[in-house]
């Protein structure tokens, strides 16, 4: 069972995505802000993190800066805030994908995550070859 952390401040979205992800075999933890997320990642090694970029307290970008050594954990930014500088910076900080929430409804997301989890982590491979 893949361990997944969903970082999303809007409860309606969070509940729906968590429900569908659980139904499809993911073990899901949910948090509402970056601060709680940083606590969670200290306790658990997640296979995948779904990260909203605009969050209270510690936002997505700050979370990425503090969560540098994420080893094999795949990080997907799931947000509707697609300011090009933010997207660019997020990739520089090691995210694997940037997906728009509006295009990735819960069931679409599950299918894409299943594909993503089968892919070797490019980021990790790059680190090994450097």
């Amino acid at each position: 069972m893949h361990k997944l952390l969903l970082i999303e401040d809007y409860p309606v979205i969070s509940v729906m995505y968590a429900k569908v992800l659980k139904e499809n075999g993911f073990s899901v933890d949910t948090v509402q802000d970056g601060e709680q997320a940083l606590e969670k990642v200290k306790q658990t090694n997640y296979d995948i993190i779904l990260l909203d970029m605009l969050l209270p307290k510690v936002n997505g970008m700050e979370f990425l800066k503090k969560f540098k050594d994420h080893g094999k954990t795949k990080v997907v930014a799931l947000s509707d805030f697609d300011y090009k500088e933010t997207v660019k910076q997020a990739f520089e900080l090691g995210i694997d994908k940037f997906w728009l929430k509006v295009d990735n409804t819960p069931h679409v997301l599950v299918k894409k995550l299943e594909v993503l989890l089968k892919e070797p982590s490019e980021r990790h491979d790059n680190l090994l070859t450097q």
Binding site: I13, F81, V102, T105
Partner: protein, 428 residues
């Protein structure tokens, strides 16, 4: 995060930027004050044996170091004093101190003969980094007054043999140099401020897009949940159809939001200056744009290019020219049927580049041609195939971009035969 919270964060960020800039300038000034201080103390001490003058200089430089230290620690304070005006006041303090220090150095280094006059550039540049043009020119004026005072004081006190005529030239020349520096600094800081404003505007638009998309994302997720719920199959065909309609209208609204804000983003760039003019290879740019538009409309087979292999250059802004070309070439594909050719060619004369984009679509009436380059002139009904609705800003934006590059854009079209767009750009 709400829009209010975003705006609040932006204001905090502005204060933080000012604080960071101040701190950065302070660090540079450590070296500056130290170098001047050491030179100021050691040179007279080596060349002269006037103990009183050396001790005066040591006192003066020590005072500067002390004041710098105090300012540095005040600026470093993260919490407590948080007003923007406070950081501005500190910056004015820095500028005044630099002018006084430069003038003192001029005085001890021999008045008008001193090359240290270049030190006045530092307060003027500091003003340019932190303030508007009024403060920059004020810094230049203060520098000029302080310089003249230092030179005249030196010559009066030392009874220097230089004649009045010999003094006039540096006293006139250097203040003019200060104002030239101020003019350059003002120009550069204006350009940089406009770039920053453009970035903030883009970020604000992205934030607005996010806010407008947010309900649509939630609706899309809810529909997704409903359609995959076991009870979905119990709905009547009519109910299922209505749910499908909600889904389509929702994605339609998302497209509209994206297009509207994309157009606003494109239009806003028209007001930003053509800061970095570069040699743009128009041949490559046209080829890239044509390939991308043809692929996007699944009509790669219809594209006919007649473009020289050798570079064809024009002075301009790559991103803006690409935006202009994309709009024009995309239209050629949108308003002509699959299977008909879209011909793009470049002709050259010694001074101009003549680019033609020809489609064999429906063409336009005279009335349509008259409003073609106006805002919101959308001819969606004349399109072939399915394409998302547009805001009717594409050709308006393209024409403005081409004209900003001292080029021209013409259209000739006949109903039932197709349209030819001609773009003329200067070679360079």
């Amino acid at each position: 995060m709400s829009l209010d919270a975003y705006i609040l964060t932006a204001s905090e960020r502005h204060r933080e930027q000012l604080r960071t800039k101040n701190l950065y300038l302070m660090r540079i000034r450590w070296f500056y004050v130290l170098i001047i201080g050491i030179t100021g103390i050691t040179l007279p001490a080596i060349t002269k044996t006037n103990i009183s003058s050396t001790s005066q200089q040591i006192t003066f430089v020590s005072l500067f170091l002390l004041l710098n230290t105090i300012l540095f620690y005040i600026v470093r304070r993260k919490d407590g004093i948080r007003s923007i005006n406070f950081y501005r006041l500190v910056a004015v303090g820095q500028i005044m101190m630099d002018i006084v220090l430069a003038s003192y150095t001029i005085y001890i280094r021999g008045g008008a003969n001193s090359r240290t006059v270049i030190l006045y550039a530092i307060p003027i540049i500091t003003a340019g980094i932190l303030f508007t043009s009024v403060v920059v020119y004020s810094a230049a004026l203060l520098s000029a007054v302080a310089y003249i005072t230092a030179v005249v004081a030196y010559h009066l006190i030392h009874n220097d043999t230089l004649s009045g005529a010999q003094l006039v030239s540096p006293i006139v020349f250097y203040p003019i140099v200060f104002f030239i520096i101020a003019a350059i600094v003002t120009k550069l800081s204006t350009l940089s401020a406009q770039t920053v404003e453009q970035k903030s505007y883009d970020e604000l638009l992205a934030m607005l897009t996010h806010q407008l998309r947010h309900p649509s994302s939630t609706i899309a997720a809810i529909i997704d949940m409903l359609q995959s719920d076991p009870s979905f199959k119990n709905l009547s065909p009519q109910q299922k159809k209505m749910l499908g309609m909600i889904k389509n209208e929702n994605s339609h609204s998302v497209n509209l939001i994206s297009n509207l804000l994309e157009a606003a983003r494109g239009e806003s760039k028209l007001d930003s200056p053509l800061a970095k003019l570069e040699q743009v290879n128009i041949a490559t740019l046209v080829r890239e744009s044509a390939d991308s538009c043809a692929l996007g409309s699944h009509r790669a087979k219809d594209l006919r290019l007649n473009i020289p292999d050798a570079p064809v250059t024009s002075l301009g802004h790559t991103d803006q020219l690409r935006m202009a070309l994309d709009n024009i070439i995309n239209n050629a594909f949108l308003y002509s049927q699959a299977g008909t050719a879209v011909v793009i060619g470049i002709g050259l004369d010694p001074k101009n580049i003549k680019l033609q984009i020809i489609d064999h679509g429906r063409g336009m009436s005279q009335a349509q041609q008259r409003v073609l380059f106006q805002r919101f002139s959308d001819f969606s009904d004349d399109r072939f195939g399915n394409s998302p609705p547009k805001m009717g800003l594409g050709l308006y934006v393209s024409k403005r971009i081409i004209e900003r590059h001292q080029g021209t854009l013409h259209v000739s079209s006949k109903v039932g035969q197709g349209t030819k767009i001609t773009v003329n750009l200067k070679r360079g």
